[in-house]
Structures are given as C-alpha cells and as structure tokens.
C-alpha cells in the first residue's frame, strides 16, 4: 500500500468515525434559556469546597490515630474519599451547566469571537482532563489540593466569561430594536 493511499484511507476512516459521533443525539438533555436561569439560581456545589478539602486533610483524622483508632480513621478517610468523588461529579455537572449556558449565550449573541470560543473549548478540555486526574488521585488516596483549586478556578473563569458575554448582549439589546430570532423561535416552540 502506497503512502498516499494509506494517508487518505486513514483520513476517510477518521472522518467517518467523526461523522458517526457528531450525528448521534447528545447524551445531555437540551436546556432552554429558562432552564439555565433556574439552574443558575440554585445553590452551587462549589460552595462546599472548604468543607470537602478540610475533610480530606490528614490532620482532620489525627486525633483518631492519637487515640489508637487506626481502623476507624482509615474507614473515615475511605468514606470521605467517596464523598469527595461524588462532590467531583457534582462539580463537573455544574461546569457542564455553565458550559451549556455559555453555548446558549453564544447562540443568541449577534457576534461571536472565535478566540473566546477557542479559549472556552480549551478550558473545557483542561477541565475534563483535570477531573479525570483528580479522580485517579482520589482513588489511590493521594492528596488532591492543587487540582481541586485548579478546577474551581476554571469554573470561576467560565462564570466570568459568561458575565462578560451577557453584559455585551445586554448592551446590544438596549440599542437594538429587534430581538434575536433564536429567542423568538424558542418562545414559539416550547421544545
């Protein structure tokens, strides 16, 4: 097999696989603008971060070791690691919600900056990779401080981007006499 044939065969196989992935329906339920607003108004999981971090610190179970309850301390740490993993899932869900909100904003925005969108995409990839890495560390009982901080910072960055985007849209809405078609369609079609 010649090298061009190999190159084009690999390219076509890759494109067909990408096509199959892209045309299948998304796993997540599509959110409307109202859904996103309602979700954003709910209490956020990241507010529990200090408690989660505190519970994973070795000092927090030192008193049990000191009193000779090593087995109890180990069990406590295992349970807390499970809780941290569940917390991580919630954090990921929250991030996905923010990402969904940012997509909706991008859809209704009259202008979109490719660099902003690229930044958000890169942020998303980094967040997912860090989530996997943190899960790995928690499974093996390693300390997660730095990564938890990074993930929460990224969620904060996403929120900041959303704030800037809504400010721009708000400014546009104030000077525009016509609402975007997207919102009109969404109003007309309850789905």
């Amino acid at each position: 097999m010649s090298s061009p044939l190999l190159f084009f065969t690999i390219a076509v196989v890759f494109l067909v696989l990408m096509l199959l992935w892209a045309v299948r329906p998304p796993k997540r339920v599509l959110l409307s603008v109202d859904d996103v607003l309602n979700a954003l108004s709910e209490k956020r999981h990241y507010a529990r971060l200090p408690q989660i971090l505190q519970s994973l610190r070795p000092e927090d179970t030192d008193f049990l070791h000191g009193k000779g309850h090593d087995e109890l301390a180990a069990r406590l740490r295992r349970e807390r690691q499970h809780i941290a993993l569940r917390y991580l899932n919630y954090l990921q869900d929250e991030y996905q919600l923010l990402l969904e909100a940012s997509r909706i904003l991008a859809k209704i925005a009259p202008e979109v900056s490719p660099m902003d969108e690229l930044d958000r995409f890169r942020l998303n990839v980094r967040f997912l990779l860090n989530c996997r890495y943190l899960r790995f560390r928690l499974w093996f009982g390693l300390q997660p401080w730095d990564i938890f901080g990074i993930l929460s910072d990224m969620e904060g960055d996403m929120t900041l981007q959303l704030e800037m985007a809504t400010s721009r849209i708000g400014e546009r809405a104030a000077i525009s006499s016509e609402p975007p078609l997207f919102l009109e369609d969404r109003r007309r079609d309850p789905e």
């Binding site: 010649s2 090298s3 061009p4 044939l5 190159f7 084009f8 065969t9 390219a11 076509v12 494109l15 067909v16 990408m18 096509l19 892209a22 045309v23 603008v33 996103v36 607003l37 954003l40 108004s41 990241y46 507010a47 200090p50 505190q54 909100a101 997509r103 904003l105 991008a106 859809k107 209704i108 009259p110 202008e111 979109v112 900056s113 490719p114 969108e117 995409f121 401080w145 929460s152 910072d153 969620e155 904060g156 929120t159 959303l162 704030e163 809504t166 849209i169 708000g170 809405a173 525009s176 609402p179 975007p180 078609l181 997207f182 919102l183 009109e184 109003r187 007309r188 079609d189 309850p190």
Partner: protein
Amino acid sequence: MAASLILRNVSWALSTLLELVLLFFLVRRRFYRSHPAFCLYVIVAILQSAVVAASYMSFGTDSRQSYDVGWGSQAMVIAVRWGAIMEISRKTFADYSGIGAMVSRILLGLAACVLVYSIASAKTKWELVVLNADRSTELGIATFIVALFVFVRYYRVPMPDLERLLAIGFCLYSCFAVLNDSIYENWRRAAGNLWDYLDLLTFTATLLLWISAVRSYSEIPVATSPATLSPEDYGELSQKLNSRLYLLNHRLNRLFRSEDPRP
C-alpha cells in the same frame, strides 16, 4: 471486461433514473424555492450524465475528448456541489448570526487547508493531477461537512432532518470518492470499469438516501404560539442572567481568594 462494462452501464442508467426521480420530487415539493442550490446540483448531475454518455458514444470511452468532457463536467459538478453544501450550512445557522458567521469562516478555512495539504502531500504523477485535484476537493467537502456536524453538536443547533440527511449523503459520497480515487491511483490498470461501477454504486446509495429524505419531508409547520419576545423582555432576561452570574462569580471569588481552605 464485457461483464464489468455492462455492470457499469446498468449502474449508470439506474443512477440517472434515480436522479430524475429525485428531481421530480424536488420540483413537486417546490424545493427549488427553499433549496435552489441543491436543485441546481441535481440538474447539473443529470446533464453531466447526458453529456458524458453522448461523448462516449461519439468519441469512444478511451478517447482524449471523452476524458476532457468527463473531467471538465466533473469540475462543474463539484463547483455546484460546493454551492449546495454552503446552502445547507447557511440554512442550518440562519437563525444564529453570531456563531453562523464564525462557523462559516472556520469551515471554509479548514476546507481550504485540507485541499492544499492533500494536493501537496499526494506526490502524484503529472498525468494524475486531475484525479488528485478531484480527490482533494472531495476530502475538503467531507471535512467541511464533518466539521459542520461537530459545530452543530457543540452548540446544540437544531438541524432539520432534511438538511441532516442531505449533508450525510454528500459526506459519505465524498469519503467514498476519496477512497475510490486512491484505489484508482494505485491500481488503475486493474481497476478499469470497476472504478466507475463503484463510484456509481455509491452515488446510487446517496441518491436513495436523498429521495427518502425529500419524500419524508413534512411541509406542515410545527404548531407554534404567536408570542414574541420584545426588546424589553430580552433586556430583562439578559439582566436577570447577568445578576445571577455576578452573584455566582462573587461567591466563587470570595471563596478562592482566601488561601486557607478551612471553613
């Protein structure tokens, strides 16, 4: 040899018949109003079949004239096909001016890069330069459509079934054309009429997909309420979202500006 020639001619006749059936449905459902570029593509494809058939009958299949007519008409078909694909892209993002403008720029840039790179990387012989250009263009089309679907998925843009199936048909046909051209480049002596036959077979499958999509297309609009969002409502909505995000961000900043994670 004779058997493969008959097979090719039968496939050719079948694909032309299906093109006419597709055109019939397009005209009957007045798609020339909503999808003029796609209708033009089908018409040009039918004309290409007629012109190439006439050329084969007049000059023979292996003549220089037939070669020029075949590839010349193919260039026109590909140009019109690009128009049909751009139409699908434009219709998909019609209601989303912001991401629509960005996506169309990215897709065109990506397709151009693929085109240039695949021409440069092929290192083909001079006599196969037309074939290589055809393959590169098909690869550019397939990449454009796949990237379009990726953007549609990423931004959760609702894509009507008709546009989705038309685009899938174009993409699969282009992917197969890339493979077919590559096979021909390597084994052109052995491929012979089989190359034409495989191309026509893929095109026939694509036509069946398109006919099914056009036939099942429903013109009945979805029942909708006439309510619209006024600029005041929109401004209020934006402010509401803004204040929620501000609160969210404020809490997050307050939390993470402090170095000590203890509560």
